[in-house]
């Protein structure tokens, strides 16, 4: 301090106490801003963030995995796919999570090679509020596109009737409900619409938020669900898990093979299996409008993003071990939470990817041999 002690002694008590307070505040400040020690007891801490869609599954995994390896503490924050991509790109977290693969353009921003690890499968379903209709409605792809383009305006339109000859469709306007917040769910749904409708591709396109031709926007799956439940004659899209938990009616959708398929975990897995052979080397793939007799056409992978070259060997090892467990033993927790487990051939591909992760040039899975 600038004021010497000698000077301080002669000051009035008020000034002295004020100086003492200042001094102690300075000390507290220094103590607080000082570097906190590393993790206690040699425990490894991993931070992840990203997609909200797989959050229930990831939280389940984290709590189960902490029983298997108590030395590893993993935190996951569901801040949205976009945030997950941004943060792993800035290397502020150890793994990111996203529902849609990182685009080619965005991949260029990453400092090192990033791996896409598929962890589970989900689906987007069409749900509606037509109280008088009991059996699931059926939709062909062009009808879905035209409803969301605003070209089919009424429920008793001839083309909806053609898909549902036995349903007592009301003579009422269709109210479209879509997500207002940026969302992987929207990205998957619009990715499907782009594939099945050239007009959609031209006029709207695909993304986490798009310029919807019509309808009302609601925030989150819960918002869309709330809006649909409250308003008769609405139609919208939500995640399968959300629809099942809330017992919403879900539509059967005509797939590429020409069959009307309801969104079941088996049908989603079939969509993944049917396109597994054509999966590119970096595992970035869209499986909407998949081939296969029983495949549900609006299915998608959800991914965890990790750097191929890990900076910290201990953390990298813990991360790889966790991911290995997640795509093997962890898969059995998926169905009860309404996620479809990965098909066997995809798990094989993921194994290869996990084995290729290194720290300081040394592979991290090598010493474990086949310990998964």
């Amino acid at each position: 301090m600038i004021i010497s002690c000698e000077v301080m002694v002669k000051m009035s008590w008020r000034v002295r106490s004020a100086c003492l307070i200042l001094l102690s505040l300075t000390l507290v400040w220094q103590a607080c801003s000082g570097r906190r020690g590393g993790p206690a007891g040699g425990a490894v801490r991993l931070q992840g963030a990203g997609a909200t869609f797989p959050n229930p599954l990831y939280q389940k995994w984290l709590s189960e995995y902490s029983k298997i390896d108590p030395n590893v503490r993993i935190d996951y924050q569901s801040i949205g796919s976009g945030g997950g991509i941004k943060q792993i790109e800035a290397q502020t977290i150890d793994f990111g999570a996203t529902d849609i693969p990182v685009s080619d353009e965005e991949l260029k921003n990453f400092p090192r090679e990033i791996l896409h690890i598929p962890t589970a499968l989900g689906a987007v379903v069409l749900t509606y509020n037509l109280p008088q209709i009991k059996a699931p409605l059926r939709f062909s792809p062009e009808v879905i596109a035209d409803i969301f383009l605003g070209k089919i305006k009424r429920w008793d339109d001839a083309r909806i009737k053609a898909d549902n000859p036995n349903a007592a469709l009301p003579s009422a306007d269709i109210t479209v409900v879509h997500r207002s917040d940026g969302s992987g769910t929207t990205a998957v749904f619009t990715d499907y619409l782009v594939k099945i409708s050239s007009e959609w591709k031209e006029r709207v396109g695909t993304g986490t938020s798009v310029n919807w031709p019509l309808g009302i926007g609601a925030k989150g799956n819960e918002g869309v669900t709330g809006q649909i439940k409250q308003t008769p004659n609405t139609i919208g899209y939500v995640e399968l898990a959300y629809a099942v938990q809330n017992k919403l009616p879900v539509a059967a959708i005509k797939n590429r093979a020409g069959n009307y398929v309801e969104p079941t975990l088996d049908a989603i897995k079939m969509a993944a299996a049917a396109s597994a052979a054509k999966m590119p080397d970096d595992l970035r793939v869209s499986i909407t409008d998949a081939p296969g007799d029983g495949a549900y056409p609006i299915s998608s992978y959800t991914y965890i993003l990790v750097y191929k070259e890990q900076r910290d060997a201990a953390k990298g090892k813990a991360l790889v071990d966790f991911l290995w467990w997640a795509v093997h033993d962890g898969q059995r927790f998926a169905p009860s939470l309404q996620y479809a487990p990965l098909p066997e051939e995809v798990v094989r591909r993921v194994e290869t990817k996990l084995n290729s992760i290194t720290a300081g040039g040394r592979p991290l899975r090598a010493e474990a041999k086949d310990g998964g």
């Binding site: 004021i3 000698e6 000077v7 002669k10 000051m11 009035s12 008020r14 000034v15 004020a18 801040i79 949205g80 796919s81 976009g82 945030g83 991509i85 941004k86 685009s103 965005e106 306007d173 109210t175 207002s180 917040d181 940026g182 969302s183 992987g184 709207v204 396109g205 695909t206 993304g207 986490t208 938020s209 798009v210 310029n211 919807w212 309808g215 009302i216 926007g217 609601a218 925030k219 918002g223 709330g226 809006q227 409250q230 308003t231």
Partner: protein, 331 residues
């Protein structure tokens, strides 16, 4: 004790009396000086914080500004896929929904406050005042849920059809009534800002000197005429309360997002969905990928600052002019 202190220079003389610079301590008391500088730091911190926020937002909004320039302000298209961004629908939605809220809320709040201060017996005034204050403490997401599950169906089935029947010939009440839209958003906002406005107006009216009322009554004024005197006396404070409420309405996010329909369009019909600046930022910020998209959202934030600033300035001008008219002594 001898001291040498000239201007802002501080000198510690041989026998060690310390003096603060005169600038900080006109009275020469060091304790006061410290107190004064602490308070000054508090005030400065707010100014710095505001400046830092504006600077950071302006900096991050550069890509969008470079791309669109001032066209951003009146651009009507919001298409993240194509990278086209315009702010006009959001500015429109923000201003109109807040105006609806004010139109509905101000008379109601004034009524509540006048009743509580001028008319109600203590035994009734206390619990009512408490309940109104309680309304202000409800989280906005709860208002939003209530909006979806109660207010929206009410607007769709009870309020909308008669309104359309009476005023359907105007452009303001046309179209399908889904219960989700500008009107519902405005009503939710009105309910949310009523406790704030009425609480402040209550305090303002209570602060009007009793002598004013006594004088009016002594001149033979009725209760109604007396109230008008009291209101005129509290006019600047009442306008201040309205500005506070308006500020809350403009910045409100969650509750509005849940009922306004989130559609970037400019439609005169109050039944149609609309969008506010705060809502689009909250909705799209987490998943905004790409620099242009992100910077467009940040620029929207800047515009929200600007809109709030302009409305505040206008309201303050109004306060001044009213104050000058009604009570020149106070200006």
């Amino acid at each position: 004790m001898k001291e040498t202190s000239t201007g802002t220079r501080t000198t510690v003389v041989a026998h060690g009396v310390f003096r603060w610079p005169r600038m900080l301590s006109p009275t020469g008391d060091a304790g006061d000086a410290i107190f004064r500088s602490l308070l000054f730091c508090c005030a400065l911190l707010i100014v710095l914080l505001l400046a830092a926020m504006i600077a950071a937002m302006a900096y991050r909004a550069r890509p969008s500004f470079a791309q669109f320039g001032f066209d951003f302000l009146w651009g009507r298209s919001w298409n993240p896929v194509e990278g086209e961004f315009g702010a006009l629908p959001f500015i429109y939605g923000t201003v109109v929904s807040s105006l609806i809220a004010l139109i509905l809320s101000v008379p109601l709040s004034l009524g509540i406050a006048i009743f509580l201060v001028e008319q109600a017996p203590k035994g009734i005034a206390r619990p009512i005042a408490f309940l109104v204050d309680l309304l202000a403490a409800i989280p906005s997401v709860v208002y939003g849920l209530w909006g979806i599950f109660v207010l929206a169906p009410f607007v769709r089935e009870e309020l909308g059809p008669p309104l359309q029947g009476l005023f359907g010939w105007t452009p303001f009440f046309r179209g399908t009534i889904t219960g989700i839209g500008m009107l519902t958003g405005g009503i939710i906002l009105a309910i949310m800002i009523t406790p704030i406005i009425s609480a402040v107006v209550r305090d303002v009216l209570a602060a009007v000197p009793m002598a004013q009322r006594e004088a009016a009554l002594a001149l033979g004024a009725t209760k109604w005429e007396t109230t008008r005197v009291v209101l005129a006396n509290g006019a600047p404070g009442i306008l201040g309360a309205v500005i506070l409420g308006l500020g809350r309405a403009i910045g409100e996010t969650m509750a509005v997002t849940m009922v306004i329909g989130n559609r970037p369009q400019i439609s005169l019909s109050l039944f149609d969905p609309a969008y506010t600046i705060a809502s689009v930022i909250a909705n799209e910020f987490t998943e905004a990928t790409g620099d242009l998209y992100l910077s467009a959202l940040i620029e929207l934030g800047l515009i929200l600052f600007l809109v709030t600033f302009i409305i505040n300035a206008l309201a303050r001008l109004l306060v001044w002019s009213v104050a000058r008219r009604t009570q020149p002594a106070r200006v």
